[in-house]
Symmetry: D2
Subunit: 137 residues, 4 copies
C-alpha cells in the first residue's frame, strides 16, 4: 500500500438534523462527513472532485468500514482527519479519524475505484496522481 504524503483535517460543526433520539449523531452521518473531508482534501489541492466529474471521471465507493468509539453531540465541532493510499493499481483507500476535543470518536476507511465514462479506468486521473502520489525525484 502506497501512502500519499498529503493529509487534511476537515472541521465540521454537528447539525441538529444529524442527531437522533439517543441524543447523539446518528451512525449513518459519519460517511457523509468522510465525504466532506474527501471534498476538502481535493479542493484545497486545486483539483476539486467536480472537476474530475467534468473530465468524465467518477470515483464511487465500493467498500466502507467504521468503528464507533464515542458519540458526537450537537454543540460540538468534529475534526475529521483524512489521508489516502493506493490499495493497488486500481483502487484508492481513504482513512479517517474523527476527533472531538482530542478524543477519538470514529475511525474508518473507504475504498474507491476510478471510473472513466462509467467504466473502470486503468489509470487514476493524471492531476489526482500528480497531487496525491508525486513520484520521488
Amino acid at each position: 500500500m502506497l501512502f500519499s504524503p498529503i493529509k487534511h483535517v476537515a472541521k465540521i460543526e454537528v447539525r441538529y438534523a444529524e442527531t437522533d433520539a439517543m441524543g447523539v449523531v446518528h451512525h449513518s452521518v459519519y460517511p457523509i462527513w468522510f465525504e466532506q473531508a474527501r471534498t476538502e482534501i481535493m479542493r484545497i489541492h486545486e483539483h476539486p472532485y467536480h472537476l474530475l466529474e467534468a473530465e468524465g471521471f467518477s470515483c464511487p465507493l465500493i467498500q466502507m468500514e467504521l468503528e464507533y468509539k464515542r458519540s458526537c453531540h450537537y454543540g460540538e465541532f468534529a475534526d475529521v482527519h483524512v489521508s489516502l493510499a493506493k490499495e493497488d493499481r486500481l483502487r484508492t483507500r481513504f482513512f479517517y479519524e474523527i476527533f472531538v476535543d482530542g478524543q477519538l470518536c470514529v475511525k474508518g476507511s473507504t475504498l474507491h475505484i476510478f471510473l472513466k465514462d462509467g467504466k473502470p479506468s486503468r489509470h487514476s486521473p493524471e492531476a489526482f496522481e500528480k497531487i496525491f502520489f508525486p513520484k520521488a525525484p
Copy 2:
C-alpha cells in the same frame, strides 16, 4: 384550482435515523415523506415518476409550505394523505396531511412545474393528465 379526483394514503414507518435529539421526527424529514406519497400515487396509477423521467420530463418543486401540529416518534406509523390540483395551466399543487393514530401531525403543500428536456413545458405529460385530470365525458 382544478382538483384531481385521485387521492392516496401512503403508510410510512418512522425510521430511527429520522428522529433528532428532541426525540421526534426532524422537521426536514416530512418533505421526504411527501415525496414518497407522490411516488406512490403515481406508481399505483401505472405511471411511475421514473417513467416520466425516461420520457424526458421532470417535475421540480418550486414552492413548499408546512405546518407542524404534533410530533411523530420512532415506533409509529404515519398515514400520509396526498391529493393534487392544477394551480394554473403550468403548475400542479400537491396537498398533504400526515396522521398518526388519527391525529393530525403535519399539513402542507408543494408546488411543481413540469419541465421537458429541462425547459418549462406548456403541457403536463399526456399520461399524467389522463390519470389525474380526466375530462368529464
Copy 3:
C-alpha cells in the same frame, strides 16, 4: 413584527450526499442549511442553542415555507443569509435567503415557539432577548 438588528451569513459547502438524481441539491436539504444558519447566529452571539437546551428550553419549528428559484450544485458554496423577528409575543420568525455566486437560489422563513421544560413559555429566554432584541436605551 419587531425585527432584530442582528444578521448573519453562514457559508455552506454543498455535500455530494445532498444532491439527487436531477444533479441538484434536493429540496429537503435547505431546511437543514437554515438550521445550520440558526446554529451559527446563536453561537457567534455567545448563546449557542445547546446552552438553551441545557437551561430547559427548546425552540421547535411550527411552520416553514420555501421558494425555490435556482438549483444549487455540488462544487458550489452557498451563502445562507439569516435574520429574525418577533412575530408576536410568543413566536419568533427566522428569514433566509440562499445565494450562490450572488444569485438568489432559495428564499424562506421558519416560525418557532419557545418551550420551557416542554411547555410553551410565556417569555423567550432572557439571554436570547438581550442579544437579539435589545431595548433601545
Copy 4:
C-alpha cells in the same frame, strides 16, 4: 458465533431524496435501510425496539462494514435480507444482503452492544433472547 434461526426480508422503495448526482442511491443510505430491516425484524416478532427503549435498553451500533456491488436506482424496490448472531456474550451482529430484481447490490454487517440505562449490559434483554436465541428444548 451463535446464529439466530430468525430471518426477515424488508422491502424498501427507493426514495428520490436517497439518490445522488451520480443517479444512484448514495452509499450513506444503506445503513438506514439496514436499520429499517432491524426495526422490522424486531417488530414482527412482537418486541419492537421502541419497547426495549421504554425498558431502559438501547442497542448502539459499534462497528459497521459494507461492500457495494451494484447501484440501486429510483423506481426500484430493494429486498433487504437480515439475519443475526451472537458474536460473543455481549455483542450481537446483524448481517444484511440487499437485492434488486434478484441481483445482489450491497452486503454488510453491523455490530451492536446492549446498554441498560446507558451502561453496557451483561445480558441481552430477556424478550430479545427468547425470540432470537431460543434454547434448544
